[in-house]
């Protein structure tokens, strides 16, 4: 019943409004001042967090494979989010090729310290010294392939049953068919024709002793999604991702770092100084740079948006043959 009106609105109406408002205030009091209305729903982020929680729940000894690259850094942030306010409930492991950009290693150690999580490092150099693998030589030599042996040995050493990796399906054609929970046998092999179907959100992590599962929480992200997320979340990444002056040389249309002695360089391959950045930070011997002036995350995201060369186009190991990635994966490569 309207008994009076203020400013043209019936008083009764206004009273009701104020009751509702005061109820809201009570709620706000309960959940403190940092409370926000509605959660911004990022489907990819929610999916990744869900997957990481499934790993922690379904496996005895999971590990997060950390390369120091942007994808594994993104994974670490997602893991922080998944388990807050608890610490990340699994260690990080770095398979160190010995060919890392020094910036990446410095970054890795700083991050681990901040997170207070355990870092395991296993070196490809050790596998070489033990005679388990033989170092490649020549113009296209790389330690990328050799990582596999070191990784498989480490999995056996620590009895890891789940290895979380930052691989994405958009990277490469064979990856497009990779499952989120990808079962590997004792030899680390991927049987691409006999993969488990993954339905709805349900992830089946049941395995036999000796088997392990590779888990890819950011399977459905694209390179641009990762970069946008890094920007949005203000995540720190190694400096080599941003444009910087570097001594480089050109080969087959690719730009290689000439700063450390890691990349084989023939005498006729001339060194010059250019502004470059790296799009991936894998093994230096197979990671080429791109010419760029993008020295901030905004500029990098802008550049990726415009970019005409896909990310793996800058990695020589996939160019070896059309089926390069698929072959490496069958052998247990990540």
């Amino acid at each position: 019943m309207v008994i009076a009106s203020i400013g043209g609105k019936p008083i009764k109406y206004r009273i009701i409004v104020s009751i509702v408002e005061s109820e809201l205030e009570t709620v706000v009091d309960v959940i403190e001042s940092n409370e926000l209305e509605v959660l911004n729903n990022n489907a990819l982020e929610n999916e990744a967090i869900y997957i990481l929680r499934e790993v922690a729940a379904q496996f005895e000894k999971p590990v997060l494979l950390f390369s120091g690259g942007k994808d594994s850094i993104t994974l670490v942030r997602l893991a922080q989010k998944a388990f807050f306010p608890a610490k990340i409930p699994f260690p990080l492991m770095h398979i160190d090729t010995g060919h890392n950009f020094p910036e990446t290693i410095a970054f890795r150690d700083k991050l681990v310290k901040e997170l207070g999580v355990e870092l395991i490092v296993r070196n490809v150099q050790d596998s070489i010294d033990q005679g388990k693998v033989v170092e490649e030589t020549g113009k296209y030599s790389s330690r990328n392939m050799l990582q596999t042996t070191t990784l498989l040995d480490a999995i056996e050493e620590f009895k890891f049953d789940a290895c979380i990796g930052g691989a994405r399906r958009d990277e490469e054609k064979a990856r497009a068919k990779e499952r989120i929970f990808s079962v590997r046998d004792d030899f680390g092999q991927w049987d691409e024709k006999n993969q488990r179907p993954e339905l709805f959100d349900m992830l089946n992590g049941q395995i036999e002793l000796g088997q392990n599962v590779r888990v890819f929480p950011i399977s459905n992200w694209t390179e641009l999604d990762v970069w946008s997320y890094i920007q949005q979340e203000d995540i720190e990444i190694p400096s080599i991702y941003f444009a910087h002056k570097r001594k480089i040389f050109l080969r087959d249309g690719f730009i290689w770092s000439a700063e450390d002695d890691v990349v084989f360089r023939a005498d006729d391959e001339k060194v010059e100084e250019r502004m470059v950045r790296f799009r991936t930070v894998g093994d230096m011997s197979c990671t080429s740079a791109v010419l760029s002036h993008a020295d901030t995350i905004e500029k990098v995201v802008g550049e990726i948006r415009e970019s005409k060369i896909s990310e793996r186009g800058a990695r020589i190991d996939d160019k070896r043959s059309e089926a390069a990635m698929e072959k490496r994966k069958q052998q247990g490569y990540f």
């Binding site: 709620v27 309960v30 959940i31 403190e32 940092n34 409370e35 926000l36 209305e37 509605v38 959660l39 911004n40 729903n41 990022n42 489907a43 982020e45 929610n46 999916e47 967090i49 869900y50 929680r53 729940a57 989010k81 998944a82 388990f83 807050f84 306010p85 608890a86 610490k87 054609k173 064979a174 497009a176 068919k177 024709k193 993969q195 488990r196 179907p197 993954e198 339905l199 709805f200 959100d201 349900m202 089946n204 049941q206 036999e208 399977s219 459905n220 694209t222 946008s228 920007q231 905004e298 995201v301 802008g302 948006r305 005409k308 060369i309 896909s310 186009g313 059309e322 089926a323 698929e326």
Partner: protein, 429 residues
């Protein structure tokens, strides 16, 4: 507007992802259609385009074989067919798209079901020369069984039938006859005449088919809204993981981590914990280090309760007064995916969301022919790619809804305890 300003707007917006399942047989030009989508949205990078040009030339084609952009595995390239679910990504300023590319042969029913299970929309391809064929029935049946809300029927290869409106209408009429047989009648179906090879009505409007006044394929997806692809239902919160930090700051913290399905949950909501039936209220909703008033559907949050009660993985929080069915027995439509047959009396692990229980096959009622040709009541076992009505008995009750009312809480997978493989999927009646 500067690029920088544009970036910011895109980043503050919700990241919208639309997953589309495609099904079609080898020659329907499915891979070509996807390749065309990538090409016309400028999603193919120079090096990929270069690889396609090179391979097309090697094969002696006088056009670009876009199917090379999608067919991933060596075995597929050798046979020239798609044998697994491949995921293809592209985006417009508006949306991110994921295409689940599935093969359409009868022996790949399981892959079609898999692709459709995570998709919100679907494309059914029809070759305009062949019209509605047996396989079309199957694709439609599966998309309908999985209750995909938005389905596009793309009538492809219109260039090979002289862009004929008459032919288009003929096929449309045939398909509409099929639609009368479907179980899920509310499914929205849109017909689009296209030529993937020539690029008509995929991204760009066709100049050859001015008689068609509707949207192009991409226009259709661009305008799809959340309400067009999701059903709003009752909130279900299966607990994935219990977070107990045991730090000084969060000494008594017990957070229940999980994903909210079907609806929203808010602070203050009265909830019941299943199976203990204990009542409590939602105290806090965390997403990372921030607290929120409401958790929207499909958000991965951590919930704390007002009361100290025992909750573990596999338990479920639901709103008081909105309970699911709690039972040790149910009947479901099962899509079988294993080479080992399902038989009466055999035992499996039922994974319902994140909850696992043991199950025994009580009865196989009848097999459903996925081409709308009827049912078969004589069967005693389910082979790979079979779809049938099956009753299960469980060792513990689960908390479920019918698939019709709740896609997540009404579905489960069957795990073979010997091989550990995912042997089938079920949709609860």
């Amino acid at each position: 507007m500067s690029t920088e300003a544009q970036c910011q707007i895109q980043n503050t917006k919700e990241m919208e992802v639309l997953k589309i399942a495609t099904a079609g047989s080898v020659d329907d030009g499915k891979s070509t259609l996807i390749g065309r989508l990538l090409y016309d949205t400028k999603s193919l990078t120079d090096d990929k385009l270069e690889a396609i040009e090179k391979t097309s030339k090697q094969k002696g084609y006088d056009y670009l074989d876009f199917s090379l952009a999608t067919d991933g595995l060596v075995a597929e390239r050798e046979q020239g067919i798609t044998i697994d679910v491949a995921h293809i990504y592209f985006s417009t300023p508006n949306k991110s798209y994921i295409i689940a590319d599935t093969p359409g042969h009868v022996e790949y029913t399981r892959n079609m079901v898999t692709g459709a299970s995570t998709s919100q929309a679907a494309i059914i391809l029809i070759d305009a020369r062949k019209g509605v064929i047996e396989q079309t029935n199957r694709h439609f049946f599966i998309n309908n069984l999985l209750r995909i809300k938005d389905v596009i029927v793309a009538i492809n290869k219109m260039d090979l039938v002289d862009y004929s409106e008459e032919r288009y209408n003929e096929i449309k009429a045939d398909f509409e006859e099929l639609m009368s047989k479907r179980d899920y009648q509310d499914q929205k179906i849109t017909f689009i005449p296209v030529s993937a090879l020539k690029g008509d009505n995929v991204v760009n409007r066709s100049e050859k088919m001015t008689w068609y006044k509707g949207q192009t394929l991409l226009e259709h997806f661009e305008e799809l809204d959340r309400k067009d692809i999701y059903n709003v239902g009752t909130p279900r919160f299966p607990v994935q993981y219990v977070i107990r930090p045991k730090t000084e700051e969060f000494h008594d913290f017990r957070g229940f981590a999980g994903k909210v399905y079907g609806g929203e949950l808010s602070v203050g909501d009265e909830v019941v914990v299943l199976p203990s039936m204990t009542k409590s209220k939602i105290k806090e909703i965390y997403f990372y280090d921030k607290k929120y008033k409401t958790a929207t559907r499909r958000s991965s949050v951590t919930i704390t309760l007002e009361d100290e009660i025992n909750v573990s993985r596999g338990d479920m929080l639901v709103k008081a007064g909105d309970l699911p069915t709690i039972d040790k027995q149910f009947t479901a439509t099962v899509s079988w995916m294993d080479s080992q047959n399902l038989t009466v009396g055999s035992k499996y692990v039922v994974q319902h969301g994140v909850n696992k229980v043991l199950a025994k096959v009580e009865n196989i009622h009848h097999k459903i022919n996925p081409d709308y040709s009827g049912i078969d009541t004589t069967i005693t076992a389910l082979g790979m790619n079979d779809i049938a009505q099956v009753t299960f008995r469980l060792n513990k009750p689960i908390f479920y809804d019918s698939f019709k009312n709740h896609r997540t809480n009404g579905s489960f997978i069957l795990i073979d305890n010997q091989s550990n493989t995912t042997a089938g999927v079920g949709f609860i009646n």
